[in-house]
Symmetry: C2
Subunit: 451 residues, 2 copies
Amino acid sequence: MNTDRDIAIIGCGAGGGTAAQLARKTDRKAKITIFEQESYPQYSKCGLPYAISGIIPKIDDLIEFDENWFKKANIDLFLDTRVEKIDTNKQIIYAKKGEKNFEKPYTSLIICTGAKPTVPPIKNIDTEGVFVIRTIDDAKNISKYVQKGKNATIIGAGLIGLEMADNLYKKDMKVTIVETLPRILANTLDEDMSKLVHENIPNDIKIFTNHLATKFDEGNVTIKNNYTGEEKNIKTDFLIIATGTRPEISLAKKIGCKIGETGGIAVNNRSETSVKNVYAVGDCTEFVDFVTKKPLLIGLGSIAVRQGIAAGVNAAGGIYKLPEGILNTSTSEFFGVQIALVGPITNKIDEEFSIVSARFNGMSLPDYYPGGKSISMKIIVDKYTGIIMGAQAVGDNAAQRVNTFACGILGRFDVETFMKLETAYAPPIAPTLDVITLVCDKVSKKLNRER
Amino acid sequence: MNTDRDIAIIGCGAGGGTAAQLARKTDRKAKITIFEQESYPQYSKCGLPYAISGIIPKIDDLIEFDENWFKKANIDLFLDTRVEKIDTNKQIIYAKKGEKNFEKPYTSLIICTGAKPTVPPIKNIDTEGVFVIRTIDDAKNISKYVQKGKNATIIGAGLIGLEMADNLYKKDMKVTIVETLPRILANTLDEDMSKLVHENIPNDIKIFTNHLATKFDEGNVTIKNNYTGEEKNIKTDFLIIATGTRPEISLAKKIGCKIGETGGIAVNNRSETSVKNVYAVGDCTEFVDFVTKKPLLIGLGSIAVRQGIAAGVNAAGGIYKLPEGILNTSTSEFFGVQIALVGPITNKIDEEFSIVSARFNGMSLPDYYPGGKSISMKIIVDKYTGIIMGAQAVGDNAAQRVNTFACGILGRFDVETFMKLETAYAPPIAPTLDVITLVCDKVSKKLNRER
């Protein structure tokens, strides 16, 4: 092993932390250094809504690997430290911790700078009582406002917005959701599937779709109907902005890393950027969608971890290739209903593809066995090849069911093959034919009619 | 469509009923006739233990398609009817209902005669109070004996034996299990995995492995230690024999269908037998194991249904091919723990294969999220190609997790590819890296060391 290896990692999120860990496993002697501008080592951002509500008892429980862990792994971790500049010719990082500037040479660099919340143009948005949910400090600040009977308004009805709504509702708060698009989960599920989720949200949660928040003022948020222009004041004790993120790419841009059309750092399946010896991982990057081959912004911790494995192993002299694209397998749960998806949803598939899709509403157990739960699945297939492009699920075990489709998509299964998959059956567990194959049967029949 | 098509089906279990249903869908005008020697139309045999305990409220609830359903589908169903003889030259079936003999010509024949329980040589086995669990009538007879505080002894610690034990235990009965092999689930799971199940069985259920039941007499069953020969009397109010089944092939044998080495009717992936226009489906058949290519006796309702689809479609003039072998995906649940498997277990893989396997004991949720459940998985891969041959799971969502491996095995994934599968992650649902990929990672490392 090359004992001169000196790996620098910017950012200690899921991607950076994992990269450090895998680099250490790959080269026991390499020097590994992480620079993190926050005060906390690797923690779960996805867990923040559950820590705010107290389902996860303490917010600091989200820290998955503490400073001591990195010390034991012989990884130098600098918290509260900003990287100010990178010289890629000399291969030196210029960092600043408090008032102290310092330099750090490197042989490989892994950029894991994550993403920043996007904030809509709401008047008085810098007032106290307006929050984003991105860091442990955000969570600690929000949690001070969480109190039974108080009013909370959430801007954005995507995954994080709904997770937050569910968690605040569990704390007996009065929750309002404002979404500028015509429906909830517009970037996550097809309309027929998001409708199933919407129908399940308790009636005492007010949802305003097609509305924009315009002003936050003295315990009120003003929202405006996109079509009629009508304005309304909603009483709220605080506001949570959950309208998405954009990649943090300023350092990468300065050193000449290629930035892709989605605004993320372009990487390949070895997590390499366009600059020699520079890798990038996680929410600051884009990679291609496995199915459509179009660039896709990474926004999932699970992908950051996988890219981190690749970057860590490769930076430390090993060889690790990810699949030739992102499946975007994801899941969440709100108000007792699980959702999951893999591959692109319908409105993210360009017209160059001819697609056929169908939905099947089934049950988790045979009819005769009590306690079965509903599970709806929708799949999208290529009309000419029958190859499965995407799957969406709402209901019982949506995530595990979608994982099987993830495998089928990675294996480029056509719907006729997947339809005949032998699934596990037992009366208390699953029906003889699971909804994962029944939805394929439905699409297959549709294909045969349309061909 | 050929309106002269006249399809005869012997047996109205899951396979026969499904074959009739699919034949009807494929040819709206075909004549379809089913002969069933029992008094009930298509019902779930797998549901019997749960109906005996009352989890499924009424035993007759197990009937999935009643006589009226078949009538509406224009399928002639003869219950209480035995097929006595088949003339394959004249293509005529000779049947008997009560005292009445009758003849039925056919153009295609589908044999779904199922299997018969094997009964060990126990003295006084024909006494009252000794049961097998195969039919609705068996269940009705057993249920009369089910009573809180009474003693029940189950012979056989396979899937059905343990399901029965669990159900009787739930009725507050005192349950004893006697198994002649050295461990429970010896034909279902590898030893390390069956141990996890055994450890979870409540202590007040007595399990005698390495013991043979020799005599049933006046409220006692005598069991004998296979090694020491020591005999013991166990107080029991009744005895349930769950020591497996053998295919019912007498009619098929008489008409010259090829019988395979396992004792089942040999069929191909179109459910055809060796005799022209004769199909066979379900527990009376054998087909090849997808992984080992060795003949495998069918013993699962889920496979019977799939073979029934193939036989029904093909007999009615359509084309339906199953995959080139059986994955044997199966699942069950006892004492609150789910188990599942796909592909052969270690002791069913011949020495001609070089295999590597590993087990991973993981959790269903990230460490920081409360309520995670244990899930142990073991996979077996081919040492030279890394191709996944089998997977076993004990714990949380074992069945759905194994389904993803079923897809991977059908797609002939190697462990390196499967290991990189992007699984769905969210704190309340699954960890960033699911045990389904972590177990692959473990095997992959082992492979790299052993190669």
